[in-house]
C-alpha cells in the first residue's frame, strides 16, 4: 500500500466529521485575520448572537489599508481609520491578540505569522486572504477563505471544505544564477495556466525546493493561488526547523519537530498527479499580460495569439490591447515608470537584501519612482540594522513603512493613469495597482531593482550581479 502525503495526514488529524453536504468539517488550528475581510464576519457573529469559540487561536494585524508614509492616528484617510478602529474594537471585545501599528509587530499578515513562529508544520491555517497559501512553506496546509468562512471559524474554529487532490510539482536540479523562487512560480503558472491547479493542493518537492531558503519557499507557496491551486506546501526539513527555532511562539521546539517528522510525506506517498520541472532550464521571468499566467522569459518573444490554446486567446487579445504590447516583442527593454518592491510574495529580509545588492552604489533612473515597502515592522528593523534602508535611499528609492501598499493599492500608494510598474507582488490584473488603466509587470526583487536603475526591463543575468 502506498504511503501518505503530508496533506492527507494533516487533514485526517483535523477532520471533525463529514458534513451532510459531502464536505468535511475541518478544524482550523491557526486563524489569522486582518482589517478588510474580518469586520463583516464579526458583524455576522453579533447578528447570530454567537461568540468566538477559541480566541487563543486567532491572531490579527492590519496590513491592507495601512499608509506607508505616516501611521500617526487618526489616519489621514477616515475610511482606513474606521477599519482600523473596527479591528481594534473587535479584537479587544473577543480577547484576540492584535499586532497593531503601534506595537512594533505589525506587518503583512503572511509575513507576521511566520516571523512570530505562529506558523508551524502540520497546522491547518486559514485567513480571509487568498495568499494564506504562503504558510504552506512550513509544511502547514493553509487556505484563503471568504468572509462567511471567517465567521464560521470565529464561531466554531472549523470550516466546511471539500478535500482537494494533491499534485506533486517536482523540480529537479539546481536553479541557475539570477533565477529565483519568483521566477520558478511564474514559470509553473505560465506552463500549467491560471486555473491549471483547480481541484488540487500543490506539494512542491525535488532538489531545487529542498535547497531553497524558507523565504524562497514562502514566495513559491504564496502564488499557488495564482495557479488556481487551493493551497501549496513544502515538506518540513532542517531548513524549516532552523528557521523557526527561537521564534516567540515556538513553545516546545522538540515536540514541534517530532510532530513535523510524523506528518511529512512518506517516501512512497501517493499523489493524484505529478508534474516535473527542470530547474536548470529556468530563466528570469516577466509577466506581459493581465493575469500571472501571461508570462515569458525576459529574453523571449511574446506569444502570437494564434499559437495559444483556444481558451487563452480571448484573454490574450484583451491583454495585448490593455498593455499596449505586440506579439513577438520582448519584455527586455520595456520602459517602466514605477518600481514596487514588497508584498507578501517578496517583502521579506532576503528579498530586500537581493534588491539592495543590485541597488548598492547606483542610482534610480530619473524617469522612475521606486518604492521599497518592508513586509513587516520587524523586517524593516532588521533591514535598517544591516543598513539596507541607507543603500536604497542613497540610490533614490523611497524607504517606506510596512504594509501591503501597492500590491493592491488600498492605501495611498497607487499608479497614475497608464503608468507601467515593475512589481515584486503577485497580481497583474487590470487596475490592480490602483489606477483603472495602470499596468503591472511581475518579476523578482533583483529584476525589479535592476529595472529601477535602468528605467527599463533588463536581464539580471547580464548585469554581472546575478549571483
Amino acid at each position: 500500500m502506498a504511503g501518505k502525503n503530508l496533506f492527507e495526514k494533516v487533514w485526517a488529524k483535523h477532520k471533525v466529521r463529514t458534513l451532510p453536504s459531502g464536505q468535511d468539517q475541518l478544524f482550523i488550528g491557526l486563524h489569522l485575520i486582518h482589517e478588510v475581510t474580518s469586520p463583516q464576519a464579526f458583524g455576522m457573529l453579533r447578528e447570530k448572537k454567537l461568540s468566538v469559540r477559541y480566541p487563543g487561536r486567532t491572531f490579527a494585524t492590519a496590513d491592507h489599508i495601512i499608509p506607508t508614509d505616516d501611521i500617526s492616528r487618526p489616519l489621514s484617510d477616515p475610511l482606513a481609520e474606521e477599519m482600523l478602529k473596527a479591528l481594534e474594537a473587535n479584537t479587544g471585545e473577543y480577547g484576540i491578540q492584535y499586532f497593531g501599528p503601534e506595537s512594533g509587530k505589525q506587518g503583512v499578515i503572511h509575513v507576521v505569522g511566520p516571523e512570530k513562529g505562529l506558523t508551524q508544520p502540520g497546522m491547518t491555517i486559514a485567513c480571509g486572504d487568498s495568499h494564506t497559501a504562503t504558510h504552506g512553506a512550513f509544511g502547514a496546509i493553509a487556505f484563503g477563505v471568504g468572509t462567511s468562512q471567517v465567521r464560521d471559524i470565529l464561531a466554531t474554529q472549523t470550516m466546511a471544505i471539500s478535500k482537494p487532490g494533491v499534485r506533486r510539482i517536482l523540480v529537479n536540479g539546481k536553479m541557475p544564477d539570477g533565477v529565483t523562487a519568483k521566477d520558478l512560480i511564474l514559470a509553473i503558472i505560465g506552463r500549467l495556466g491560471v486555473n491549471g491547479g483547480l481541484g488540487y493542493a500543490y506539494e512542491y518537492a525535488g532538489e531545487a525546493i529542498e535547497s531553497m531558503t524558507m523565504e524562497e519557499r514562502m514566495t513559491l507557496c504564496n502564488m499557488s493561488i495564482e495557479g488556481g491551486a487551493r493551497a501549496g506546501y513544502v515538506n518540513p526539513d532542517k531548513t524549516t526547523y532552523d528557521w523557526l527555532k527561537g521564534k516567540p511562539y515556538i513553545k516546545d521546539f522538540e515536540s514541534m519537530v517530532a510532530y513535523a517528522e510524523e506528518i511529512k510525506s512518506d517516501t512512497d506517498a501517493h499523489y493524484d498527479d505529478e508534474v516535473v520541472f527542470e530547474a536548470g532550464e529556468l530563466k528570469p521571468m516577466v509577466t506581459w499580460g493581465i493575469n500571472p499566467g501571461q508570462v515569458v522569459a525576459v529574453d523571449e518573444g511574446l506569444p502570437s495569439v494564434d499559437s495559444l490554446p483556444e481558451d487563452e486567446k480571448e484573454t490574450a487579445l484583451r491583454a495585448y490591447e490593455y498593455m499596449g504590447f505586440s506579439e513577438n516583442e520582448k519584455m527586455l527593454g520595456k520602459k517602466i515608470d514605477v518600481v514596487f518592491i514588497g508584498s507578501c510574495t517578496n517583502g521579506r529580509l532576503t528579498d530586500l537584501r537581493e534588491a539592495a545588492n543590485i541597488a548598492r552604489g547606483k542610482k534610480v533612473a530619473d524617469t522612475v519612482t521606486a518604492l521599497v515597502v518592508p513586509g513587516s515592522q520587524e523586517v524593516a528593523r532588521a533591514a535598517e540594522e544591516e543598513g539596507l534602508d541607507k543603500i536604497f535611499r542613497d540610490a533614490g528609492f523611497q524607504w517606506r513603512l510596512a504594509g501591503c501598499s501597492m500590491c493592491l493599492a488600498m492605501n495611498a500608494d497607487k499608479l497614475k493613469g497608464r503608468q507601467i510598474s515593475a512589481s515584486t507582488s503577485n497580481r497583474n490584473f487590470i487596475g490592480r495597482q490602483g489606477s483603472p488603466t495602470g499596468r503591472t509587470l511581475l518579476l523578482s526583487p533583483a529584476m525589479a531593482a535592476a529595472a529601477a536603475l535602468a528605467g527599463e526591463i533588463v536581464d539580471i543575468r547580464n548585469t554581472g550581479a546575478a549571483s
Binding site: 451532510p20 453536504s21 483547480l198 493575469n291
Partner: protein, 197 residues
C-alpha cells in the same frame, strides 16, 4: 437551517470574457468599508465607467439587462483575491445565480455560503446562451438544481455543479455556521489531540 433552494428562475445578463478576476468585479479601493452594504453600486466599476465617469457600455449598464438576476459568463470566473466582497457586490447589484464555463474555487465557495447557485455549462452552451440573451434579453432562464438542467426558451442543457455546494443548497445547509455548530464537543476533541497551541 437556511432555506432549501431547489431551482432558480429569472432573466439573464451576459458578461463575456474568461478569467474575470475579483479585482475587476470589485476594485480594492471600494473595499474600504466595515459592512457589505451598498457594494453593488461599485460592481464592475472600472469596466463600467472610464476615468471621466463616462459609460463604457458594460452589460450592467445596458437597460435591456437592468435587474436581471442570472449572470452568464465564461471560464475561470471570480479568480484572484478571495474577497467575499465580489459575490456580495454582485448580490447587492441584484445577481442571485451564476452560470459560467468554470469558477475559481474560493469564489464558488463564497457563492455557496451566500446561497447563490454557481452552475457550469460547456463552452459552446455558454456561448449559445449568451447569444440568445444578447438577442432576446427578456427570456427566462430556469436553473433546476434537482436534476441539474438549465432551460432557456426551447433549449435545455445538462449542467454541472460541485456536489457539495449543490447538496448544501438542496438541503438548506448552505448557511454553514449552524451546521458546523452541531458538531459540538467533537470539535474540542480534535483540538485536544493536536500537539500545538
Amino acid at each position: 437551517m437556511s432555506i432549501r433552494i431547489r431551482e432558480f428562475r429569472g432573466k439573464g445578463i451576459a458578461i463575456r470574457g474568461n478569467d474575470i478576476d475579483t479585482d475587476r468585479i470589485i476594485p480594492a479601493r471600494f473595499m474600504k468599508c466595515v459592512t457589505f452594504e451598498g457594494l453593488g453600486a461599485y460592481a464592475f466599476n472600472d469596466e463600467r465607467v472610464d476615468a471621466e465617469g463616462k459609460s463604457k457600455g458594460h452589460p450592467f449598464d445596458n437597460p435591456s439587462f437592468a435587474g436581471h438576476p442570472v449572470l452568464v459568463s465564461n471560464a475561470n470566473f471570480g479568480c484572484g483575491s478571495s474577497r467575499e466582497h465580489a459575490p456580495q457586490a454582485l448580490r447587492d447589484w441584484g445577481i442571485r445565480a451564476l452560470i459560467c464555463e468554470s469558477f475559481a474555487e474560493i469564489f464558488a465557495g463564497n457563492c455557496s455560503s451566500l446561497g447563490m447557485p454557481a452552475v457550469t455549462l460547456g463552452h459552446d452552451e455558454i456561448n449559445e446562451l449568451q447569444k440568445l440573451l444578447e438577442k432576446e434579453p427578456d427570456i427566462e432562464i430556469l436553473i433546476n438544481l434537482e436534476n441539474l438542467t438549465i432551460r432557456a426558451k426551447d433549449k435545455e442543457w445538462k449542467a454541472s455543479m460541485t456536489d457539495a455546494y449543490r447538496n448544501a443548497l438542496l438541503d438548506g445547509s448552505w448557511d454553514s455556521t449552524a451546521v458546523l455548530i452541531e458538531a459540538g464537543s467533537d470539535i474540542d476533541k480534535v483540538a485536544e489531540e493536536l500537539p500545538y497551541i
